[in-house]
Symmetry: C2
Subunit: 111 residues, 2 copies
DNA sequence: TCATTTAATCGTAATATTGCAATAAATAAA
DNA sequence: TTTATTTATTGCAATATTACGATTAAATGA
C-alpha cells in the first residue's frame, strides 16, 4: 500500500488534513514566515531564504498554492506571491475550535 | 535525495512543521476528533473509527504521541489516550500569531 | 533579433509514509 | 495454567515526498 484512503473520510477531515499537511515542512514554514515579513514578494527573494535550489523552492510554492495557502499574480518576469487570508482564517478557526473544546472538557476522566 | 534538510532551519520552524505534519493526515484528524468527542478513551474504540486495520491505527497513535499531540497511560490491557492541551495551546498560538500579523498587513502592496 | 533573467516543469534518485498481515507482548478471564 | 482479548511491533509492498540538475517558457534589455 502507501496511498491514503481518501474516500473514507469526511470533507472536513480531508480539508483540514490537506491544509495542515502542506504546512508540515520547515521549508514551507520558512516561506510563509518570509511572505509575512516582506510586503511585496517576488520568488527570486524567496529562493534565497531556505537553503534550497530554485526548482525545490518552486515546487514548495506550488504545493502551498495548491492548498490555497498563498495566491499569486504574474507580474512581468516575476511572480507576486501573497498569503491567502481566507485559508489562514479557516485553519485558525478550525484549530481554535478543537482547542476550545479541549479546554472546556478539562480532562475530566483520565490522564 | 528525498530527506528533509532539517539542520538548516530554526528550532521554531522545525517544531511548528513537526506539529502540523502529524496533523496532516485524515486518519489522525479523525482520531483527534474522536478523542475530543469521548471522555474516556480506550484504543479499542478508536480502532473502529477510521476504516483502517488495528496495526495502522496503532501506528497513527504512535505518531500523534511522538509529536505530543496526545498522551497516554497504561491501564491494564487497554491504553487511555487523551489530547495534550499544551501542544494544542502552542499550535493554536503560533498559527494565531501568523494570522493576526497577516490581518494587520491588510495586503497593502499586491494580490 | 539575440542574449539575459526568472520561474516553472521534467526526469530522476533517495528517502519517507501508508497500510496491512503476521507476530509478539501483556493482561484478564476461565 | 490455559485461553481469550487487546495493543504494539515487525516486515514488507505500494505509493508519496523531497531535492536537484537540466531544460523549457516567457518576458525584459541591449
Amino acid at each position: 500500500m502507501g496511498a491514503t484512503k481518501t474516500d473514507q473520510y469526511t470533507e472536513r477531515q480531508l480539508r483540514l488534513a490537506t491544509i495542515t499537511k502542506v504546512l508540515g515542512h520547515p521549508a514551507r514554514i520558512a516561506i510563509v514566515e518570509y511572505l509575512l515579513k516582506v510586503d511585496s514578494c517576488i520568488c527570486g527573494d524567496i529562493v534565497n531564504e531556505p537553503p534550497l535550489a530554485q526548482a525545490t523552492v518552486s515546487q514548495h510554492l506550488r504545493e502551498l498554492k495548491s492548498a490555497n495557502h498563498i495566491k499569486g499574480e504574474i507580474e512581468g518576469t516575476a511572480i507576486c506571491y501573497c498569503l491567502n487570508q481566507e485559508t489562514w482564517s479557516l485553519l485558525t478557526e478550525e484549530l481554535q475550535l478543537i482547542f476550545k473544546t479541549l479546554q472546556a472538557k478539562n480532562n475530566s476522566a483520565c490522564c
